[in-house]
């Protein structure tokens, strides 16, 4: 048990976890750059980016929580406490996201959001068109 504790919480162990975190950081930065070049079949670039960005963020958070915050040896009470808060977060997301992500439903319409999306996309289109024309002039 003592050996296990020393191994799991020695200085070399912490440096090892830090090194893994840095490698994961590099992968998450490289993900969107490399993704368009390695997509194949059903595996699209955005899926690769999603995995390298958010999948890796979850792994990094787990490594920090388990090994630096010592949640892996902390009393279960703390994991349950933090897990409950995460569930509250998911509950909040599930309850409100449909109204925010969608701009219309069976009996409702979010006109302000629809107008803003249309206006912004149109402005972006004009900007891109202008840049394209400006580039052609040069």
């Amino acid at each position: 048990m003592a050996e296990h504790t020393d191994q799991e919480h020695g200085q070399a162990h912490y440096v090892k976890i830090w090194a893994i975190l840095l490698v994961l950081l590099l992968v998450s930065i490289a993900g969107p750059i490399v993704a368009p070049h390695i997509e194949f079949g059903f595996l699209k670039a955005w899926m690769i980016t999603l995995m390298t960005a958010f999948g890796i963020a979850v792994v990094k958070a787990y490594l920090v929580a388990a090994h630096f915050m010592h949640l892996n040896i902390e009393k279960k009470y703390i994991s349950y406490l933090l897990g409950t808060m995460l569930m509250f977060m998911l509950l909040f997301f599930a309850g409100t996201a449909p109204d925010v992500m969608k701009h219309e439903g069976q009996n409702w319409q979010n006109v302000a959001a629809q107008t803003e999306v249309e206006r912004a996309l149109e402005a972006e289109g004009k900007k891109a068109h202008g840049e394209h024309e400006g580039g052609a002039e040069h």
Partner: protein
């Protein structure tokens, strides 16, 4: 000031020291604060396709370097905890000062980054994306500043060999601040 500690400081119904338990409860409440903010950002981002263009103006390198700085400062914090556990207050204080320096560097980089963005017109009133950007990163930066202040106070005590258990407590808080950034980084800098 009384030399004896209050009963609440020394008792432990859960088997977890009271100070540590309090820090875990602080973190539990912080999960709801940051979780709510980030959840709101995600749902708005998914509902507003035009935000992808706004997000393309954030600088991945600034975000990446700051992630490196925070991960490294977290390593320093846990090494400080290791030293404190072994009764070496002086070493623990040194590691905590190193962690604080990481906090200063983080804030310095953020100041340079924000100055450039504001000069380019990407202010908090520009649009919904930049509102979330400054609110989420700003709230996180306030936590970094608070962490640095508390850490330096604890380092000063640890240097004298006093209250060494607090080294772990500030470490737990600092790691949480690190975890929040681990999620802010892909949300604000990678997903473009």
């Amino acid at each position: 000031m009384s030399a004896t500690k209050p009963i609440a400081t020394t008792r432990s119904a859960t088997g977890i020291p009271t100070g540590k338990l309090a820090v875990w409860w602080v973190i539990a409440s912080e999960i709801v604060i940051f979780g709510g903010l980030l959840s709101s950002y995600v749902m708005h981002r998914l509902g507003h396709p035009e935000w992808a263009e706004y997000a393309s103006h954030t600088n991945t390198w600034f975000g990446g370097i700051n992630t490196f700085v925070l991960l490294t400062s977290s390593l320093f914090a846990v090494l400080g905890h290791y030293a404190a556990e072994h009764g070496d207050g002086k070493k623990a204080a040194k590691w905590l000062v190193g962690t604080s320096l990481g906090g200063f560097v983080f804030i310095g980089i953020k100041a340079v980054e924000w100055t450039g963005e504001i000069q380019h017109g990407y202010t908090i009133t520009a649009n919904g994306f930049w509102q979330f950007y400054y609110t989420a990163a700003g709230l996180h930066a306030l936590h970094v500043i608070a962490g640095v202040v508390i850490m330096l106070i604890i380092a000063n005590d640890a240097r004298k060999g006093k209250e060494l258990h607090r080294v772990e407590l500030i470490g737990i808080y600092w790691h949480f601040v690190d975890i929040v950034w681990i999620f802010l980084f892909p949300l604000l800098y990678i997903a473009k």
